[in-house]
C-alpha cells in the first residue's frame, strides 16, 4: 500500500513538484527581470506536464478515444525540451554576465537549426513510440554548457559577492543538477527501449523525477530570495 502511494507520488511528481515554485511565484511581488523566463517556464511546464501525465494515465486505463497523436505524450516532452532550452537561454542572456555573451546569443539559433534538420530529415516530432533522445540530450548538453560557463564566470569575476547573493544562483544550481543527471538518461533512453530494457528505463526515469523535484525546489528558493537575488 505504502509502495503504491509512493509510486503514485513519484509518477505525479512532474506536476506537483511545479506547485512548489508556483507558490512562490504567485506570492513574490516584483521579481527581478531575469526571472521572467523562469516564471514563464514554470507555468508552461506545469501545463505541459499535466497534459503528459493525463495522456499517460489515460493510456494506463486503456482509453483510446483520442486522436492518434494524442495517445502518446512523447511530443509534449519534445515541446517541453524546446521551450526549456529557449527560455533558459533567455534567462542566461538576461543575467547579463560579461562572459561568452556572443556564444550564448548564438546557441538558441543553432539549436533551432539542428532541431529543424533533425525533425525534417531524421526523426518524427510526433513519434508515438518514443521521445527524441537526440533532442533531449542536445538540449541537456547546451544547458549544461550554460551552467558551466555561469560557474566559470563566478570564479573569474572579482567582485567576491556571496554565492547566495549572485543573481540566479539557485536556478542555475538546480538546472545544472537536473541536466547533468539527465544527460545520459536522455541520451540512452531510446536505446534502452530498443534494447528491451523497458523496466530499467522506467526505473531510471525515477532519477529524472527526483532531480526534477530538486530543480523545482531550487527555482522556488530563488523566488523566495528578497532583494532581487
Amino acid at each position: 500500500m505504502i509502495l503504491t502511494i509512493l509510486r503514485a507520488i513519484f509518477d505525479w511528481s512532474e506536476v506537483w513538484a511545479l506547485l512548489i515554485p508556483l507558490a512562490f511565484i504567485l506570492t513574490r511581488k516584483n521579481p527581478p527581470a531575469y526571472l521572467k523566463p523562469v516564471r514563464m517556464y514554470v507555468w508552461i511546464a506545469f501545463v505541459l506536464n499535466i497534459g503528459a501525465i493525463v495522456i499517460w494515465y489515460r493510456n494506463r486505463l486503456g482509453l483510446t478515444d483520442l486522436p492518434q497523436f494524442l495517445r502518446s505524450n512523447n511530443f509534449l516532452y519534445n515541446i517541453h525540451s524546446v521551450i526549456r532550452l529557449l527560455l533558459f537561454s533567455w534567462f542566461f542572456i538576461l543575467l547579463n554576465q560579461r562572459f561568452m555573451h556572443r556564444v550564448k546569443a548564438v546557441l538558441p539559433f543553432l539549436f533551432i537549426l539542428l532541431l529543424l534538420i533533425n525533425f525534417i530529415f531524421f526523426e518524427d516530432f510526433f513519434n508515438y513510440a518514443m521521445l527524441s533522445s537526440r533532442l533531449l540530450a542536445t538540449e541537456a548538453a547546451i544547458l549544461l554548457f550554460y551552467c558551466l560557463q555561469y560557474y566559470i564566470y563566478l570564479t573569474i569575476d572579482d567582485k567576491g559577492t556571496a554565492l547566495e547573493k549572485q543573481p540566479g544562483f539557485w536556478v542555475v544550481t538546480g538546472l545544472s543538477i537536473y541536466v547533468a543527471a539527465n544527460f545520459f538518461i536522455f541520451l540512452f533512453y531510446t536505446y534502452l527501449l530498443k534494447q528491451k530494457l523497458k523496466v530499467f528505463a522506467v526505473n531510471i526515469w525515477d532519477v529524472h523525477n527526483i532531480v526534477f523535484i530538486v530543480l523545482c525546489i531550487c527555482i522556488a528558493i530563488n523566488f523566495r530570495k528578497k532583494n532581487g537575488y
Binding site: 560557474y151 563566478l154 567576491g160 554565492l163 540512452f188 531510471i204
Partner: protein, 274 residues
Amino acid sequence: MGTDLTFLVILGIAVMLLMVISVLLAVVFSQRKKNQHRIAMEKLREEQQNLLIEAAVRSEETERHRIAETLHDEVGAILSSAKLHLLGIKTVSLDERDKSLHDKGSELLNDVIHKVRGISHNLHSNILKEFGLNEAIRDFIRKIMQGAIIKATTELDDSYQTENPDNDISIYRMLQELMNNILKHANATEFIISSTHKDNELDLVLFHNGNGLTQEQFEELRYRKEGLGLKNIQNRVIMLKGTIHFAGGSEGYRINIHVPVTTSPKITPQVQSK
C-alpha cells in the same frame, strides 16, 4: 549487452553529478577566498580612511593652535602695545573733539583686544586640558549665551573624568560646531546640553526647541560642499568610533552623540614652541 548499457547509464549519471558537485565546490571555495580578500581589503580601506581623517583632524587642530598662539602672542601683544601707546597720550592738552576721538579709539582698541583674546581662547584648548571637558563646555556655553536671548541649561555628568584629552578635544569641537549651528540656524529659545557617563561610554544629548535637523537631512547635508562643519563632525565621530543621531519631534530637536571614551587615537596637536 543489457548489463553493460545499464552500467554505462548509471556510471554516466554518477560521473556527471560528481562533475557538477566538483564544479560547485570549486566555485564555493573560490568565492569564499575572494570574499575573505574583499573583507580584508575593505578593512584596510577603512583603516586608511580613518588614518586620513585622523591626519586631517590633527592638522586642523594644529592649525587652530598656531592661529590661536599667533593671535595671542603676536596680534595680542601688538594691540596691547598700541593700547599702552594710546594711553600714553596726554589727554589734558587735547580739545573736546580730539579727546572724544581718543576715548573712542581706546574703547575700540579694548574691544579688539577682548575679541582677539576670545577668539584665541576659543581656538585654543587650554581650558579643556586644564579643567576637563565639562568645564570647557560650561565655559563655552557661558560665552556664547552672553547677550543672546536663548535660555541654556547644562546637565553634565561630573563622574566623567578625562582619560584621553585628545578625545575630549574632538568631542568639544563637535559640540562647538553643533551649538554654533543651532545659534545660527535653529531660532531656538531653549537649549539643554546633558551628558551621562557609564561603563566607559559617554552619551551627550543636545536638545533645543528650534528648527533642527533630522537624520536624513544630516546625511544629505554632510555630502554638500558647503556642509563643511557637518562633514567635520562626521569625521570626528568616525575617528572616535562613535555615533551621532539627529531626531526631531513636536517638542523639539535632539542630537545624540555616543562615544566610547577609552578607545581613542592620539591626536595631540603638534605645536612648535617659539
